[in-house]
């Protein structure tokens, strides 16, 4: 930066105050917040580390369920045992160990969450990318569709469809995946719109590189940071929705998911008889897991905003 260039102003400053050094290629941005530092709080970072630890321990639990759980979740012991030495979290109505159920349940809940989120993110990114990159008519149509999907109340629609189609584990993941891509699409689109206007992309286009090449080598890499928090947050919503649908009895009862556990506790007298360990454990698991995802997700999101500025 030689000499004094009017106009390039405080961006440099905000970048060095707020950025974390990740190089966003050629990002020239209009920055209006010279001293703003959105994620400066050390506390905030600590909290998100807690989130990360929780998240990965759930993930590990899901992957290594068979090693971690004290016994087979289908084995039967004395029913309705409160938490104690033999069964740390007690047993349910069939005498199955709640802790083992929880650990195995994390697998089901996570697969639904991840499956739905993966699908939602893929659809959302593709639609956003196409809309943003090609602009014009494609953008109009795709964003029109997105707006419509945004407005459909998703849980009622899933309930109606699930009622017609009979409950199954994959169906629910599929339904959620095909409904939850809208916000990802919106964000990706605005980002793609930005990237396509950038100098190096423009020049590549004028050099005759194919759209596919540009999308794959220039646009996609820039999207990953943006899509990641959206992906995480979709996992969270999918898990809450799965548990809600299971709670309604629309879930797959042969699968031990957290929502199903609460459903059983609710429908088999767990509440009235004060078997709190039966429903509190899965309920808290859902809450804590979602919380960990939200913490990581919002951390990533704020970091991205600090890198890329307001869109």
């Amino acid at each position: 930066m030689a000499g004094i260039k009017p106009g390039s102003g405080p961006c440099a400053m905000s970048e060095c105050f707020c950025g974390d050094g990740k190089d966003v290629r050629g990002m020239e941005k209009e920055c209006d917040r010279p001293y703003h530092c959105p994620y400066g709080g050390i506390l905030f970072r600590k909290v998100s580390i807690i989130g990360l630890v929780l998240f990965s321990s759930f993930l590990l639990a899901a992957i290594f369920s068979s090693f971690l759980s004290p016994c087979d979740p289908w084995d039967r012991f004395e029913p309705y045992l409160p938490p104690g030495q033999d069964h740390i979290l007690g047993t349910n109505d069939l005498g199955q160990d709640i802790l083992s159920e929880l650990i195995y349940g994390s697998r089901v809940s996570l697969i639904v969450g991840f499956g739905a989120a993966l699908m939602a993110t893929t659809i959302g990114s593709s639609i956003g990318l196409l809309a943003g990159y090609f602009k014009g008519m494609a953008d109009e149509i795709l964003m029109g569709i997105t707006d419509i999907f945004l407005m459909i109340p998703q849980i009622p629609l899933i309930i109606v469809l699930a009622a017609f189609l009979r409950p199954s584990f994959w169906l629910i993941a599929l339904l959620m995946g095909s409904l939850w891509w809208t916000s990802t699409a919106r964000v990706v689109r605005s980002k793609a719109l930005q990237i396509r206007e950038m100098g190096y992309v423009q020049s590549k286009r004028s050099l005759g590189f194919s759209h596919l090449h540009i999308i794959v080598s220039d646009v996609l890499p820039n999207l990953s940071q943006l899509v990641m928090p959206k992906f995480l947050l979709s996992i969270a919503s999918a898990m809450i929705a799965e548990s809600s649908i299971s709670f309604l009895g629309l879930g797959d009862p042969s699968m031990k998911s957290w929502g199903m556990m609460i459903n059983f506790a609710f429908s088999r007298g767990g509440f009235i008889n004060g078997y709190w360990w039966w429903y509190m454990a899965p309920g808290l698991c859902i809450t804590i897991f979602v919380l960990s995802i939200v913490l990581i997700g919002s951390f990533l999101e704020e970091r991205d905003e600090s890198i890329m500025g307001q869109q």
């Binding site: 109505d93 069939l94 042969s254 007298g269 008889n273």
Partner: protein, 526 residues
Amino acid sequence: MKQNTYKIAPVLLLCLMLIPFSTASEESSGMVLKIGTPNVVKSASILGDSNMGVFAHLSNPTLMKMAADGSLEGLTARSYEVSEDGKTWKFIIRDDLYWSDGEKLTPEDVQFTFDYLAENYPAAGWMKETVNDISTQDDAVIFKLNKPYSRLNLEFATYPILAKRIWESIEEPMEYTNEGEMLGFGPFYINSTDLGTGVIYFKRNPHWKGASPNFDSVEIHAFANMDVLSLALEKGDVDAYYKYAGTYPYPSVKKLEDTGNFEFVEKDNIGLIFLGMNLKKEPMSDLSFRKALSYAINYSEMLKLDALGFGQVPNAGFVPPSMMNFKQTAQLEQNLSLAKSILDSAGYKDADGNGILEGKDGKDINLIFLTRTDYQRVTELMVDYLKDLGIESEIKNVDSSTWIKQKDAGEYDLTITRSTPWGMLMHANWGTGYFDSRRTGEGVLHVLEDPEFHKLCDDILAATSQSQLQDYAYQVQDYYGENLPGIALYWNKVVTPYNKAFSGWYSDPLYGIFNVDNFLSVEKSR
């Protein structure tokens, strides 16, 4: 200004919070008996809503009733006579019954009711094929049948008698709803139905001439949530529990007991939970295989886990002791080694040593276990027992309507289902309705094609004397014991808790405590 809004908000919230504490609940006047039930009435339609239909028996009593011992007695009918050929039934109607508006109940009302139901009420459609003519004669109603039908008196314990002057102008009775006052000739009549709160308000029929009830009104409070109902009982919001063909949940019994305020009517259930098998498919069609299955089940664990011990291990004869003409057959038991040897000698062997037995076709046996959410837990247990026997099975969990479809299409090997008291009584009684392959229906399996069994059913239906009936009943139970078309998992008890502040409870096998006699005998104890 916005800051002010911010300050006002918590104040508003506080005000709102104070509201509930200033509420005083209104007490309705007079003596009230409140029954809590999980059978939620969804529309005020006596014929269209099955729960409403049951509750309407208090305002519109049936022609017959089932006594505590399972025998049938007159209710609206004072008595009845059957001709020797079993084809002419004469019901003499009581002459002291009056509608709540003061008009007398006439035999014409009864005649109208059955003509009307036969025509418009699908569940009574059988009458069109069986009943040739209904006529009145003085104080009697005469049914002329085209063949003997021993169950007529039983059937007539289920249909409410309707007022001719009201119903003759109603074209679609199934769709007729009335949330207001409805004419009734029982000790109580329906004053109003509040679907919003799920309460049916019964008022004492001022023209009731029979034994005087001890209450001015009866309220049926429906609870969609069982837990809330339990708590309402505990808190004294309702005085007793009622569920059609069902019991108070066993896990919650102890909690009520602990309060010291409750007593329980315990009755052996006529209905039961059983393992159904698709007898039209290999290997369930093989009697040895079914025998082996019956020895694989841990009945006492099932009883302990699913019924918390409220019941007993069943007999091979399927029919529970609470039914009329019960016959003692061999008790079922778990005997794994016997089960294995039966399978072995019948040719089911594990030749490839993978731990799974092969069927007659040489392939590993893998059974489809069709189940519904209600029976998920029992099914899990069953699958486990089968595994011990070396038989693989795969749970297919479906909702009720799919269950009906797949069961009718024969797309299953095993299933767990429940018979209701009425279900056990239907067709030729003693559970035959669940097995006879000539029948269809939502809950029945209709898989038994054995001509011997079919003949037995026909004989029962055409029986004209009680001794004949008893004889056939024993034959049916022996047949069950030998052929195991279905395996009962446990015989349970129907537990109905009631508040100690009330006494004189009386329960019948068909409708439990919801019968006219009960509402005449219950009283507030001092």
